[in-house]
C-alpha cells in the first residue's frame, strides 16, 4: 500500500494520486483535515508498529511500502481551523503530526522524503555549504548584522541581492541605492546578502535517477513573484554530467525528490542556489507537460 499524507486537493498530492490511479497501484490518503478526529498509535518493541484510525477506517501503517507527504502548516488548513478551535484540539492535532513524523523517520517504507533529510532547507547558508561540497558553484554569500560589512560586500560585488536566511519564503530582491539607508537595520537581525549572478534560471526536478529540467525566461530577480509578467517556462535538456551531478547531490542529501534552482551564466557557468526537498512541481509540470508526477508515482510503486 502507498500512503499519501496531506490535503487531497493540494496540487502535487492530487497529481501523484491521479498517476497512482493510472498505474492501478493501491494507495490510501491520510487527510490532514481529519486529524482533529484521528487516533494514532505507534509502538516500538522488537519492531515498529503503527496505525491510524479515522471515522470510517483503520489504516495499518505497517502495510505501507512507500509514502509521499506534502504536509501543510496546520494553521493554513481552513477545515481544521474551523473544527479544531480549542487548545485541547490543537494539542491533539500536534500530537498526531508529531507521532506521524516520528513514524516517517523510523519506517522501512520508502519515504519521499524523510523529515530529517529535508531539514537543510531550513537554513540557506547551511544548505549552501552542502551544495558547494557537492561540487556546484555557489554565489558569494554573506550573513551579517554589520551595516559596514554589508556595504563593503555590496561594493566588492557591484550587484547584490538579499533574501531570507531561513526557509521563510521571501522575495529575492536586488539591493538598490535607495536601500542604503535601510542597511543600518541589519544590526537587528542576521541578514543574508548574495552576489548577483546574471543568467538564465533553470529548475531541475530530480526523482531518484530521473531528471526533468525546465528553462525559465524572466527579467525579474525572482521569477516566482512575477505578477502580470509571466515567465516563459520550457522543458529542456541539460548535459549528462550536470544531470549526474544533480542526482548525486540529491542522493548525498538523502532526497528521493527535489527541485534544484540553478542559473546558467552567459559565460557558461552553472550556479546552484537552493535544493527544495518538497517542490511544488505542478507549476512546472503544468507549463511544460513534463511527467514529473508520473515519475514520482513510478518511484513509489517501485518499492
Amino acid at each position: 500500500m502507498i500512503l499519501l499524507w496531506g490535503v487531497p486537493d493540494e496540487p502535487p498530492l492530487a497529481r501523484v494520486a491521479e498517476e497512482l490511479e493510472l498505474l492501478g497501484a493501491p494507495w490510501q490518503l491520510l487527510d490532514q483535515r481529519d486529524e482533529p478526529r484521528t487516533i494514532a498509535e505507534l509502538t516500538f518493541d522488537h519492531r515498529l508498529h503503527a496505525s491510524v484510525s479515522t471515522r470510517d477506517r483503520v489504516l495499518d501503517l505497517d502495510a505501507a511500502t512507500a509514502v509521499y507527504h506534502r504536509c501543510q502548516d496546520p494553521r493554513t488548513i481552513t477545515e481544521r481551523t474551523a473544527t479544531a478551535s480549542t487548545s485541547a484540539e490543537w494539542d491533539h492535532v500536534l500530537s498526531i503530526e508529531d507521532l506521524l513524523l516520528s513514524w516517517l523517520e523510523l519506517t522501512n517504507a520508502l519515504v519521499v522524503n524523510r523529515p530529517s533529510d529535508m531539514g537543510s532547507n531550513s537554513s540557506k547558508p547551511y544548505q549552501l555549504a552542502s551544495i558547494a561540497a557537492a561540487g556546484f558553484r555557489t554565489p558569494a554569500t554573506l550573513v551579517t548584522t554589520d551595516p559596514g560589512t554589508a556595504e563593503a560586500f555590496w561594493a566588492r560585488h557591484g550587484e547584490v541581492v538579499y533574501k531570507s536566511v531561513s526557509g521563510v519564503r521571501s522575495i529575492v530582491a536586488r539591493l538598490r541605492p535607495e536601500d542604503r539607508d535601510r542597511l543600518a537595520d541589519v544590526r537587528f537581525c542576521p541578514t543574508q546578502f548574495q552576489q548577483f549572478i546574471a543568467g538564465i534560471d533553470y529548475r531541475v526536478h530530480v526523482v531518484r535517477e530521473r531528471v526533468f529540467a525546465t528553462r525559465i525566461e524572466s527579467n525579474l530577480d525572482d521569477y516566482r513573484y512575477s505578477g502580470a509578467a509571466t515567465p516563459a517556462l520550457a522543458a529542456c535538456n541539460i548535459d549528462d554530467q550536470l544531470a549526474e551531478q544533480c542526482v548525486a547531490m540529491c542522493a548525498r542529501m538523502g532526497l528521493h525528490l527535489a527541485g534544484i534552482d540553478l542559473r546558467l551564466t552567459p559565460e557558461g557557468d552553472w550556479y546552484c542556489f537552493e535544493v527544495n526537498p518538497s517542490p511544488a512541481f505542478t507549476y512546472y509540470e503544468n507549463a511544460t507537460g513534463q511527467p514529473i508526477a508520473a515519475a514520482i508515482a513510478q518511484l513509489l510503486v517501485s518499492r
Binding site: P36, R37, T38, I39, A40, E41, L42, T43, F44, D45, H46, L48, A88, E89, H92, S95, I96, D98, L99, S102, E105, L106, P115, S116, G119, S120, S122, S123, K124, P125, Y126, L128, A129, A132, T138, A140, T141, L142, V143, T144, T145, D146, P147, G148, T149, S164, V165, S166, G167, V168, V186, R187, F188, C189, P190, T191
Partner: protein
C-alpha cells in the same frame, strides 16, 4: 575562549561561565545576534566574527562552543518589535545553525537542522537506534487520541551522562560497566558528545536527552576538558 550559547533565562549558563572563567568563558544569547558585528562569509567561515556580550570576537579566538539552546523562540528577543519578532527568531535560528555547523567538533553537540543542541530525537528513535546496536531496550508506545492526555509507561530510571568517552551517574560517580558501554555506544551512534541516557533497573535503555545536569562537579569538569580538547 569558550562560548556557552544559551537562553537568556538559563541559570546554568552564567554559572558555567563563572566556573570556566580561567578559560575566558562567556555566555552568548540571542540578544547578541541583534547587535552589529556578526560577519559570516559562507566561503570563508574561518574568518567569521561574532559578538558576545557586546564584544567582537574573531572565530579563530573561539576554542569551543557549548550549546544549551535547542531553538530560537521569539521570547529570546525582547528587544525586537512585536511584529518582527517571529521572523527575526526564525532568521536567527537559521543563521545559528549555519554558523555552528562550521565549527565541526568544536560545537558540542554539533547542531542538526531541527535542534541546535544536536540529535533531539523522540524516545522511539533512541530506543530503535539502541536496539539496532544490539543494546537492551524497553518497548515504547505512544497513542494520540482526542481528549486523552498522552501517557507513557513509567519506569524507575537511572540517568547516565556521557561526555565524550566518559560517563557519570547523577552524583558524579562512574556507572556500571554495562551502562557505561551502552551509553557511550548510543552517544557515538547519535554523534552526540554530550548526552543523558536513561536506563531501567535492569540496564535497558528507555530514552535519552540532550539536557544532562551540568552542575554535577565531575560532569562539569569532564565537559570543560572535552571542550578544551575539541579545540586542539
Amino acid at each position: 575562549m569558550l562560548i556557552i550559547l544559551a537562553s537568556r533565562h538559563d541559570p546554568t549558563a552564567p554559572w558555567l561561565a563563572d566556573e570556566w572563567a580561567a578559560d575566558e568563558a562567556a555566555v552568548l544569547t540571542c540578544e547578541d545576534l541583534s547587535c552589529a558585528g556578526w560577519e559570516y562569509d559562507v566561503a570563508a567561515p574561518e574568518r567569521a566574527s561574532i559578538v558576545v556580550g557586546g564584544r567582537s570576537v574573531a572565530q579563530s579566538a573561539i576554542r569551543a562552543v557549548l550549546t544549551r539552546l535547542p531553538s530560537v523562540s521569539p521570547h529570546e528577543l525582547p528587544g525586537i518589535v512585536d511584529e518582527d519578532r517571529d521572523y527575526v527568531a526564525q532568521e536567527t535560528m537559521a543563521f545559528l545553525l549555519a554558523w555552528l555547523a562550521t565549527l565541526g567538533s568544536r560545537a558540542v553537540n554539533r547542531p542538526t537542522p531541527y535542534c541546535l543542541m544536536g540529535p533531539h530525537w523522540r524516545p522511539e528513535r533512541w530506543v530503535k537506534v539502541a536496539r539496532d546496536l544490539g543494546l537492551a531496550t524497553v518497548p515504547v508506545t505512544r497513542k494520540a487520541a482526542p481528549g486523552v492526555p498522552p501517557a507513557r509507561a513509567s519506569y524507575d530510571l537511572t540517568s547516565v551522562t556521557v561526555v565524550g568517552a566518559r560517563a557519570f551517574l547523577s552524583d558524579g560517580s562512574p556507572p556500571s560497566q554495562p551502562q557505561f558501554d551502552a551509553a557511550v555506544r548510543l552517544a557515538r551512534a547519535a554523534a552526540a558528545d554530550l548526552l543523558a541516557v536513561q536506563f531501567t533497573a535492569d540496564d535497558a535503555i528507555a530514552d535519552a536527552n540532550l539536557w544532562p545536569d551540568l552542575r554535577v562537579t565531575a560532569v562539569q569538569a569532564a565537559l570543560r576538558d572535552h571542550l578544551l580538547r575539541a579545540a586542539s
